[in-house]
């Protein structure tokens, strides 16, 4: 077994990286704040404020969600803070907190309503919400000052200390940027961060490993809304004047552009993106527009062209081009050796999976009828049949993904859980027919995600490093799982560089680390070369010896015959026969089903 190629040193590397990001940002920003001319300090604050909101949006994009109305949450933060502080005599700091809380509440409401929307419906809904928010501010003139806005917002004060100095304000803003950037940077390399990345790849896959997708998606949406609200509230207290203009569609789009510039994959990228957008804006205003004597619309055209150009060149964002150069922050192999034994869930002596008389109708068509079989302890059972025989349907019914029209399923002695995220708690794990791994992450991180259900640490713990013991244990297990599938030499490779066979084995390792009693493999050998298939057979028998049961759906008959204790043959939606591999191999009906009659 080869040693890890790239990353050496302690497993704290992600901590070091995030602290470096935070310290670097605050040092550079403070230096500018203290020594730069007044005009640049205002710019610095502007960049910092949009960076705060852009980081939230980046987190949202990492989770696979797109918002075209993020500026509306800024507006809520700004207007609630400003109105409370100016018209209702709230102390500024409490007004700010109330504004942030109001955006968070709006995030819960809007997210709760819209996050069930699929595909492009979510960006459309957020776009409409943003437009409605702008229109509402104008319409509520008596309270909000309408289209012209209002001024005389008191300065931000903390415990009697008034934050009137621009330079001090800039340092406060950038401290927030630094904490958020450092925290998110660490978060992405932890349990919750891996789950967020998995959400973007495939929600169903994330749920199989125990992620409550609905809750996590909402959490990310609320965090993004909260950061936008904080940005808006600080905006109000800095400029002491607000109007609907800075919170319109253009601002939402500029935030999105900042995130896309920054790569949509890292909070630090959002900071860079926000800086780049502001810098480009200044450049255009000060040079091009002035030289050519054109109005500010040139800047809009240029931004549009750059946005289109970037997306045409790199449809995955600039990140897809940069991420090879980005250092890998991951953990190296631990010294101690641990064993991955299957959990002892389920009742002894009983079948782990028992399927009796199941059938499925889709519309008027009968896809499956009267299929029965069981998987006992320490058994490998193969499920085979030609194309369209009903293997996938059977597989999905067995895991509770599809409800059978007739018959019943017992998984560890009980009906399959209604929520996919409970499957892993039953001691069941699976792989997918079409490989579903997180291409942007390393092999090791992909495997580590499999341990999600055994961990407890959440977002805050991940941001501020309160989960170190848990992470160490997770990565120790991930290394072990990679050793078992003999891919430890590729631990720090991005998953996007794997060949098909390797990617399938990563899925197996990811399933192993969740310590299942029953492992469901969906065509693990499809696309594998002969050598890889031989390895797979060896692996399956090692797992069986370690006390794991396996249900194997596979096309390669010979591979199945040499692996399994029992074979279930399906043909055209019906159970053709169940038996020992040797019986099945000799059966005329099976040969006919495969070769044709």
């Amino acid at each position: 077994m080869s040693s890890p190629s790239k990353v050496q040193g302690s497993w704290r590397t992600p901590n070091v990286a995030s602290i470096a990001v935070a310290v670097g940002l605050i040092v550079v920003a403070s230096a500018i704040a203290i020594f730069a001319p007044q005009y640049n300090v205002t710019l610095l604050v502007t960049v910092g404020l949009s960076a705060v909101a852009a980081m939230g949006l980046t987190l949202l994009l990492i989770a696979g969600q797109v918002s075209l109305g993020q500026a509306a949450f800024m507006a809520v933060g700004a207007y609630v803070s400003a109105i409370l502080a100016r018209d209702h005599g709230f102390p500024a700091i409490f007004a700010l907190l109330a504004g942030v809380a109001a955006s968070a509440v709006c995030g819960v409401i809007v997210g709760g309503i819209t996050l069930r929307l699929k595909g492009h419906f979510l960006p459309l809904a957020t776009l409409a919400m943003g437009m409605a928010c702008s229109a509402a501010i104008v319409a509520a003139g008596p309270v909000t000052g309408g289209a012209s806005g209002f001024g005389q917002i008191p300065p931000l004060s903390i415990g009697g200390f008034e934050l009137v100095d621009d330079r001090a304000f800039a340092i406060v803003v950038w401290s927030i940027v630094a904490v958020a950037a450092g925290g998110f940077s660490r978060l992405l390399n932890t349990r919750t961060g891996r789950a967020i990345a998995a959400l973007k790849t495939d929600i169903e896959m994330a749920e199989v490993f125990g992620v409550n997708a609905t809750r996590l998606r909402l959490l990310v949406f609320v965090v993004a809304a909260t950061l936008a609200g904080l940005s808006g509230g600080l905006f109000a207290f800095y400029f002491k004047f607000i109007s609907p203009a800075p919170f319109g569609l253009t601002s939402s789009i500029n935030l999105l552009i900042a995130c896309i510039f920054g790569g949509m994959s890292h909070p630090f990228g959002a900071v860079l993106g926000a800086s780049a957008v502001t810098a480009l804006e200044m450049l255009l205003q000060n040079t091009v527009a002035r030289m050519l004597g054109l109005s500010g619309n040139v800047e809009m055209i240029v931004f549009g062209v750059v946005l289109i150009g970037v997306l045409l060149r790199w449809p995955g964002g600039i990140w897809s081009a940069l991420h090879r150069a980005w250092p890998v922050f991951s953990t190296s192999r631990p010294a101690r050796n641990i064993e991955l034994t299957p959990s002892k869930r389920g009742v002894d002596g009983e079948d782990l999976l028992s399927v009796s008389g199941i059938g499925k109708k889709f519309g008027g068509l009968t896809a499956l009828r009267d299929v029965s079989f069981s998987v006992g302890a320490d058994q490998i059972v193969g499920l085979i049949g030609p194309n369209g025989a009903g293997k996938s349907t059977t597989f999905n019914i067995a895991t509770g993904l599809t409800e059978p029209s007739e018959g019943s399923v017992l998984l560890m002695g009980a009906p399959p859980p209604s929520r996919a995220s409970d499957l892993v708690h039953r001691g069941v794990s699976r792989t997918f027919q079409h490989v579903r791994i997180v291409l942007e992450r390393t092999v090791l991180e992909n495997v580590a995600f499999g341990a999600y259900a055994q961990g407890r640490s959440g977002m805050i713990a991940g941001m501020f490093g309160l989960d170190q013991a848990e992470e160490a244990a997770t990565f120790a297990k991930a290394w072990r799982a990679l050793e078992i599938v003999e891919l430890d030499g590729l631990a720090h490779e991005p998953a996007s560089r794997l060949a098909m066979g390797q990617a399938r084995l990563v899925e197996v390792a990811r399933a192993l680390i969740s310590r299942p009693r029953l492992l469901l493999l969906d065509e693990p050998a499809a696309g594998l070369r002969t050598g890889e298939k031989l390895k797979l057979v060896t692996l399956l028998h090692r797992l069986k010896r370690a006390g794991m049961s396996v249900l194997l759906v596979e096309h390669d008959m010979d591979l199945v015959m040499n692996c399994v204790d029992r074979v279930v043959v399906l043909d055209r939606g019906r159970g053709l026969m169940t038996g020992h591999p040797d019986e099945v191999r000799r059966d005329e009906r099976v040969i006919a089903a495969y070769l044709g009659t």
């Binding site: 996007s496 499809a526 031989l534 692996c563």
Partner: protein
């Protein structure tokens, strides 16, 4: 009449190479079948020829004319037509519109339409029905009919028998036989090996993207290695298994 010549073809999806340096010839007027187990790369091969999945390397020529880099519609204009495995019909449009669209390049003359209705009389009866309401067998006939509307020189059929009742399969085979007797060059991809070999002149057997066997239909039918390619048996899995229990 066309001669199709494929050499060194590489086709892949994302990170995986599915078809690797594959050579294949089809002579004018021949019916050649490509056999193989699931996942062997049969559909990928046809999609590669058709430009749906542009090949990464190798050449495809028809009568000496290079077809590499052409888009599917340009291939159709050159007489290369595919009946895909999933049929890809226009479900919400009537049968007749589906057929007319098959003849998009030629302006869908009434004569061609009559010919298709002659081959598949059931389609004439269903001409005003939406394609999605047809039975599986009728949809397959429509898919073949739509392809013929383009007046192909080379017709490629991807698993036309899949999921169909034996009687319907016979009906489709009858038409394939008739087209062959009219001199059309055909590539037939099938999972049902015996069925395909009963109509084909020659066959190739694919295994994980490579040709492992080729010969006349009679030779292939008699070759025990054919069933091996389907049922596996090439690798020594038993040794791999036993290795676990040695230590």
């Amino acid at each position: 009449m066309p001669d199709l010549c494929i050499s060194g073809l590489n086709v892949g999806y994302g990170r995986a190479t599915v078809i690797e340096s594959l050579d294949l010839d089809v002579k004018s007027g021949e019916l050649v079948t490509v056999l193989g187990a699931n996942g062997a790369g049969k559909s990928t091969l046809l999609n590669g020829i058709m430009g749906l999945r542009p090949p990464r390397a190798g050449s495809v020529t028809l009568d000496g004319v290079d077809l590499a880099g052409l888009r599917p519609e340009q291939l159709v204009a050159r007489g290369v037509v595919l009946v895909p495995e999933r049929r890809e019909l226009f479900g919400s449009l009537p049968v007749e519109v589906n057929l007319r669209l098959g003849g998009y390049r030629t302006g869908a003359p009434a004569k061609s339409l009559e010919r298709i209705y002659g081959l598949f009389p059931i389609l004439a009866e269903r001409r005003r029905q939406k394609a999605a309401t047809l039975s599986g067998g009728e949809q397959q006939m429509l898919a073949v009919g739509r392809a013929l509307m383009a007046e192909p020189r080379l017709l490629m059929l991807d698993e036309p028998s899949i999921g169909l009742a034996p009687l319907i399969v016979q009906e489709i085979l009858r038409v394939i036989g008739q087209l062959k007797s009219e001199g059309l060059t055909i590539i037939l991809v099938e999972q049902n090996a015996r069925l395909a070999l009963s109509v084909a002149d020659r066959g190739y057997v694919l295994e994980v993207g490579r040709i492992v066997l080729e010969g006349s239909s009679a030779e292939l039918s008699a070759d025990p290695r054919l069933s091996q390619a389907y049922l596996g048996g090439a690798a020594d899995y038993a040794a791999a298994r036993d290795q676990v229990y040695v230590d």
